[in-house]
């Protein structure tokens, strides 16, 4: 029974990883940018929500509704001012600029909020600790269930947006061939900026739930980035359902690892990640194509 419980908890944890990874996955799929400031943007959103909740006493969910457009605007600005320029210099330069942006965000947060760790848990009342019981040994936390549901809805929504809407088609066309997209009437700069705005808005959702389920401080971003990155790579970069799957694989691996040995939590997660990456490396086609993208498992 304890194993079943670990797997169930792992799946729920995977929903959280998928939620955090969703924006990273979307941004890579569209813009070929691996956003290393991703975790720090999530923490920034968590701090913004925390501030609004602190000043007004409103529910964090309402505060998130205020923070969403702010983060969307930030994503748009980030694309126009920073990423657009660095993308012109090749795929590696955005890695450097987003890495730099991450450091700037961390230290601005530190300068403004100090080193204290915060949490949104006190602001959500019973939701922070209530649970449903399945049988006598398995308990499912309301919050974890909610996070899983939000992850499924958000990833499914993005998948639907990409597959079914004019904006989604324009985003995919731009992702495949920006030059040709312009030739069929797509303003690829605007599409990129819209995609960045959407991606950073999903980061805000992830950051808020990070604040509800745990604590966060100014330097908490990179840890979030690592788990998000692993979930995305396991699931295949650029695929939304793949990211959900990757998050679940990571969460289950970590929980099973922890059950086997007390310090197995992180090791098992990283091991699965390396294993998936190794299999992709060894599967030849990736090497033949000689592309980092292929290594990371994005289907052409």
């Amino acid at each position: 029974m304890i194993w079943v419980n670990q797997i169930v908890q792992g799946i729920l944890l995977g929903g959280y990883y998928a939620l955090i990874a969703c924006g990273l996955s979307f941004m890579f799929g569209v813009m070929r940018i691996i956003n290393l400031a991703h975790g720090d943007l999530a923490v920034l959103a968590a701090f913004l929500v925390w501030s609004i909740v602190g000043y007004t006493g409103m529910s964090p969910f309402l505060a998130l509704a205020i923070v969403l457009p702010v983060m969307g605007g930030l994503g748009w600005l980030m694309q126009r001012v920073m990423l657009e320029r660095s993308l012109r210099a090749g795929m590696l330069v955005p890695l450097l600029t987003t890495f730099g942006l991450g450091i700037v965000i961390q230290n601005l947060l530190f300068a403004y909020y100090g080193a204290d760790t915060r949490s949104l848990a006190p602001a959500i009342g019973d939701l922070a600790f209530d649970s449903w019981s399945l049988g006598s040994q398995i308990y499912i936390s309301h919050l974890a269930g909610l996070i899983f549901l939000v992850a499924v809805l958000l990833l499914g929504g993005l998948q639907l947006l990409l597959a079914r809407t004019p904006l989604g088609r324009a985003i995919r066309a731009t992702a495949e061939d920006p030059d040709t997209a312009e030739l069929v009437g797509i303003n690829s700069r605007a599409v990129y900026a819209a995609a960045a705005a959407i991606a950073v808005m999903t980061v805000a959702v992830g950051g808020t739930f990070l604040g509800m389920r745990a604590t966060f401080g100014p330097y908490a971003g990179p840890t979030q980035l690592i788990f998000a990155f692993e979930a995305v790579v396991i699931g295949g970069l650029g695929s939304m359902w793949g990211t959900l799957f990757g998050g679940i694989v990571l969460g289950v691996a970590q929980n099973i690892g922890a059950q086997i040995a007390p310090n197995g939590f992180l090791i098992a997660g990283h091991a699965v990640f390396l294993l998936v990456l190794g299999v992709r490396l060894a599967s030849g086609s990736a090497i033949a194509r000689g592309r980092i993208r292929a290594l990371l498992g994005r289907s052409p």
Binding site: R169, R172, A173, E176, D177, D179, T180, L183, V184, N187
Partner: protein, 242 residues
């Protein structure tokens, strides 16, 4: 007034001047074929007209309006559509999506996705297939359809027969001839001189970035064009400037 006029257009690739002070006009309903050897600047000229390449000098006018500084995506809405060399479909998207994505940004007009399927019946069976999995001929039909659904006032076609099986070329050209007889305005780049002379109203021959010979297709002989094509008599015989 001519539908498209190009005035003293210069286009550069860095140090290389690919198009040298070219001027010409295309009238409504006419088909102008650009011929010339590889590297003559035909593709660059077409891409500059479509807005994919910023010219270094000169002007491009569409129905009298200066579009030289207009970005490519807005030229589509104004009625310029390019079928690029190598087709350049979005390979991960279906035929339907390739057409839909262009339809969303074009001009309103008679060309709808249904009409494209009527004109290219071979696409019907492949409508939901990924464009990357189509044969060359099917891809070319999709690429032309993708340009047509934007209802262009002038259609720019770059090497539509390149890399296609002879039978596929034949089919594509049958469709083009239907378009041309329907009154479409077309600027066509074609390596196959025979075909170019057959479908075009006028022919312009480019050599090293300049137009060295231009005239009505009916009045030009194969030999005249071939000479201009290879630059055989350059310097000894004055070519007709545009």
């Amino acid at each position: 007034m001519s539908l498209l006029s190009v005035e003293r257009l210069d286009v550069r690739h860095g140090q290389l001047q690919a198009v040298r002070s070219i001027s010409f006009e295309v009238q409504e309903g006419e088909t102008l074929a650009l011929v010339g050897a590889n590297g003559a600047g035909k593709t660059t000229l077409l891409r500059a007209i479509a807005g994919a390449h910023r010219p270094a000098g000169g002007r491009i006018l569409l129905d009298g309006a200066d579009v030289t500084e207009v970005p490519a995506y807005r030229r589509v809405a104004q009625g310029i559509a390019l079928v690029p060399e190598g087709r350049r479909l979005f390979p991960g998207m279906t035929v339907e999506e390739n057409l839909l994505v262009a339809r969303a940004n074009g001009r309103p007009g008679p060309w709808t996705i249904d009409r494209v399927l009527e004109a290219f019946p071979m696409l019907r069976a492949r409508f939901k297939a990924k464009a990357g999995n189509l044969s060359g001929g099917e891809q070319q039909a999709t690429a032309i359809g993708r340009a047509l659904v934007t209802n262009p006032r002038i259609l720019l076609l770059d090497e539509v027969s390149l890399g296609l099986a002879p039978i596929a070329v034949e089919r594509v050209y049958q469709c083009l001839e239907t378009l041309i007889s329907g009154g479409a305005t077309i600027l066509l780049v074609e390596q196959d001189l025979g075909r170019a002379l057959r479908v075009a109203t006028r022919v312009a021959c480019m050599l090293e970035g300049s137009v060295v010979l231009e005239g009505p297709a009916a009045a030009l002989t194969r030999e005249q064009v071939t000479e201009a094509y290879f630059g055989l008599k350059r310097g000894t015989e004055q070519s007709q400037p545009a």
